[in-house]
């Protein structure tokens, strides 16, 4: 049967859904897979979703490059230009001020354009303007003409004759021209005190004039060091914001301009590109349907409308990917895997939280609760507090075992009373004759202690399994390396080709993926209310766990050259089986969330209060 396997897909992703079924059915006839028990999970559950159709544990999302988001930004800017009759740079400042809420912007602008333009740092406030005046003016549009003055002045400063900015490419180049103050006195820059006669000077509409070198240093510092996209004029108390064309004029050398200091040019270039990224980030942060990829150095954005509303996070786990892979210099924008380990790591993240890139099948709030519990580790501390004491004679730590209060220190043989810490010799023969002890309180204390112990043991049961899978998944880089070596050896000792030994890699990847699922199922099970649903959940969990451990063992075992064809068959079969078990856990859990089937034993954010708190 194994010879029927065709590894025709050269992208390495040869386990197509259809092949999965074929593989499994073929192998059922073989004696090699004795763990397979179709009755357990039934034929119907085995139905594999056709290619292309979304599975219940997946969400619809799109990944957008920075330039794609810039297009969306441009659309909003154009919209505001046309509605409010302002130019692009003004529209951009207004949108940033209004956190990209177009409707609110238009509303506010129609109500009182002057006050909005002042608040957004487009124009300086005019002390004589009364609100009544501006309100009457807003109707005939004269106010909007007035309002564009701030930006047109800068355009004039740049020497551009373009009247309609929407017809020219955005941020076309403006040749800066010296802006000379009216007085005939020689200009001294109020910041660097430079008074050279050939000093290039620049000002916003407020006419607060400074030398271009100071503007340059200021903009770089604000953009690079403070991540500021709305940079105010340098004058004290002046609230005008530098429009984009002004920033470009300062940071981007005009074509044909003399080459300046290379370090400065490089800083400027970086600042300009960082500024554009800041605008995109601000746009994305203001839009609930969008999230910026959290991987360092990545500038992609993911759009996931179904997870925009926080309330959706009780029914779905929005695991998304920006489409790029790798980190830093090794980053690629392609979806296909280029290698193992970190270099080829997909930019996967949760659209709903920052906990972990993929915490399926549990929803964000449960995962968050669990991690908080593990962090606090309070129950372990409580346990140590209620179960250990220091010997009153030698101070070594003694753990209480069983219910007897007659303690004997292993180290110094000191005999004492657990309850009062006094020497046992004063107590007679039974603990309750402790004369400094209230019997009722003693019973309560012992009850509380055993309750706390039981709750700790319960927690440790889930925690240990959770931690074990986390640990194993962390070691997968090691396993990758070892497996790679085995695959090389295999190509030498057997007739298998490179493409034919890929089953090992596929298996290791599957094990890692399933361990992640398993890990999170333990956090889920910890909070699931006792009952039928929990039992079924834990059955599925157990089946997946057993399958994963079997496959793991197979992968880590030694390879005998004569057994390679059999091993290949076995590993392939088990990989398919494990993949199916994982699908079942993911699908069923996700469906349960959609149906509201899961009930908790503790109060979980976003869910109804539990009816009972039985574990």
């Amino acid at each position: 049967m194994s010879s029927d396997y065709e590894y025709s897909d050269d992208d390495g992703d040869y386990y197509d859904d259809e092949e999965m079924i074929d593989g499994t059915q073929d192998d059922l006839s073989g004696a090699s897979e004795d763990d397979m028990d179709m009755d357990v999970y039934g034929g119907d559950d085995f139905k594999v979703t056709p290619k292309g159709k979304r599975k219940s544990y997946e969400v619809d999302y799109d990944s957008l490059s920075q330039s794609a988001v810039e297009k969306l930004v441009k659309e909003d800017v154009d919209y505001i230009c046309s509605i409010c009759g302002v130019d692009e740079s003004v529209a951009s400042l207004l949108l940033r001020h209004m956190k990209w809420n177009k409707e609110r912007l238009v509303e506010k602008y129609m109500d009182n354009p002057t006050s909005l333009l002042v608040a957004a740092g487009v124009t300086a406030p005019e002390p004589t303007t009364t609100s009544a005046q501006s309100r009457t003016r807003s109707i005939d549009g004269s106010a909007s003409r007035r309002s564009t003055r701030g930006a047109t002045r800068i355009l004039a400063l740049g020497g551009s004759k373009t009247k309609s900015p929407t017809t020219s490419p955005p941020l076309s180049h403006y040749t800066p021209r010296s802006f000379k103050p009216k007085s005939d006195e020689p200009f001294v820059c109020p910041i660097c005190f430079d008074d050279s006669s050939d000093l290039r000077t620049l000002a916003l509409d407020c006419e607060h004039t400074f030398c271009s070198g100071c503007w340059n240093a200021y903009l770089v510092s604000k953009i690079r060091d403070e991540g500021e996209h709305s940079v105010k004029c340098m004058a004290e108390g002046c609230a005008l914001v530098c429009p984009d064309p002004f920033i470009r004029t300062v940071l981007v050398p005009a074509p044909g301009a003399p080459i300046g200091d290379p370090t400065q040019e490089e800083d400027n270039r970086k600042a300009w590109s960082h500024f554009q990224e800041l605008l995109v980030r601000h746009y994305v942060a203001s839009n609930k349907r969008l999230k910026f990829c959290p991987y360092p150095g990545c500038t992609n954005t993911v759009s996931c409308p179904s997870a925009a509303d926080k309330s959706s996070l009780t029914t779905i786990v929005p695991t998304v990917s920006c489409g790029a892979r790798g980190i830093g210099g090794q980053m690629t924008q392609s979806q296909s895997q280029s290698g193992w380990g970190l270099t080829g790591k997909e930019h996967k993240f949760c659209f709903g939280c920052h906990i972990e890139s993929d915490h399926r099948p549990v929803v964000c709030s449960v995962a968050r609760m669990w991690l908080k519990k593990c962090r606090d580790d309070s129950e372990t501390a409580n346990w140590i507090k209620s179960n250990t004491k220091e010997c009153s004679q030698c101070q070594s730590t003694i753990e209480k075992n069983g219910g007897c209060n007659h303690m004997t220190c292993k180290k110094c043989k000191h005999e004492f009373c657990w309850v009062c810490m006094g020497p046992w010799s004063e107590h007679g023969t039974a603990w309750y004759s402790c004369n400094r002890y209230d019997e009722k309180a003693g019973v309560d204390a012992r009850d509380a202690q055993s309750r706390s112990r039981a709750s700790l043991e319960r927690y440790l049961h889930y925690y240990n399994r959770w931690a074990n899978h986390e640990q194993s998944a962390k070691l997968s880089l090691d396993l990758y390396a070892k497996t790679e070596k085995k695959m090389e050896d295999m190509q030498i000792t057997s007739s298998l080709t490179w493409i034919e030994v890929q089953f090992m890699k596929k298996a290791v990847e599957e094990v890692e993926r399933c361990r992640m699922t398993l890990k999170w199922t333990y956090s889920m099970a910890y909070y699931l209310a006792k009952g039928n649903e929990k039992d079924l959940f834990e059955d599925n969990q157990r089946d997946l766990e057993k399958a994963v451990e079997d496959l793991s063992e197979l992968l880590e075992g030694p390879i005998e050259p004569e057994n390679i064809p059999m091993l290949r068959q076995k590993v392939t079969d088990k990989t398919v089986y494990v993949q199916k078990r994982n699908e079942i856990v993911l699908e069923d859990t996700a469906k349960g969330f959609l149906e509201g089937r899961w009930k908790w034993n503790a109060s979980v954010e976003g869910f109804d209060e539990p009816e009972r708190t039985e574990y």
Binding site: I191, C192, D194, M234, E236, G237
Partner: protein, 220 residues
């Protein structure tokens, strides 16, 4: 020459040449980027007669990022940490403008001493004191000026000149209150600590029961 260095040198020279203002700036070591500024406490304030020293550090991106200043002299003021000298002032943060200078910033510090802003405090305990009883606050601030900033009282010899510092006055408390709780057998330092923390002053005194204070004293 480096633009930052040129600007700082010019600022130092300007300050030296300006005899009309009483702001002084001097080098701490060899670097022009670590300075010590000083100015007299403004008239008709509890700081009058004192001399206040300020530690000045010029960051690399000065003047595009704000200068770092903190008081070296201990000051009793709602916007200045009584422990570290850290200053809460908008122009030292986001309201900074590159046109501001060391001198103009020091003048702002001087006027901060004239007009405390207790609603945006740096030192919450001092701010509470200020809001509860302005007269008592001013008395304490004056005492701090005397003992830490060489204020007039130190020369007039009001009993503090010989270096004996009155811990009760430093904490801005009523000596009678301190004595009362001390007589219950609590250590003096502990009583001062608790009463200061509870802001046991002016209109607050009737609001705080003795039981509450004893409770706090027992906790300490």
């Amino acid at each position: 020459m480096d633009a930052r260095l040129r600007r700082v040198n010019k600022e130092i020279t300007d300050c030296k040449n300006d005899k009309s203002s009483n702001i002084r700036i001097e080098l701490v070591g060899d670097s022009p980027f670590h300075l010590k500024g000083s100015f007299p406490g403004p008239q008709e304030t509890p700081y009058e007669g004192g001399n206040f020293d300020v530690d000045i550090v010029i960051p690399d991106s000065y003047p595009f990022q704000p200068v770092k200043m903190k008081f070296i002299t201990k000051v009793y003021h709602p916007n200045i940490s009584s422990a570290s000298g850290a200053i809460c002032l908008d122009i030292l943060k986001d309201a900074w403008s590159p046109v501001l200078t060391l001198k103009s910033t020091m003048i702002s510090l001087q006027s901060l001493l004239c007009s405390p802003e207790p609603n945006d405090p740096q030192d919450a305990e001092v701010a509470k004191h200020y809001m509860t009883s302005k007269a008592s606050f001013e008395e304490t601030a004056r005492y701090w000026t005397e003992i830490y900033a060489g204020g007039p009282g130190s020369k007039a010899g009001k009993g503090v000149s010989i270096g004996v510092r009155d811990e009760v006055a430093i904490a801005g408390l009523d000596p009678q209150h301190v004595t009362r709780f001390e007589s219950l057998g609590f250590p003096r330092g502990q009583v001062i600590d608790v009463l200061r923390r509870l802001n046991y002053r002016g209109a607050n005194v009737p609001k705080i029961t003795d039981d509450r204070i004893v409770e706090e004293l027992l906790k300490a």
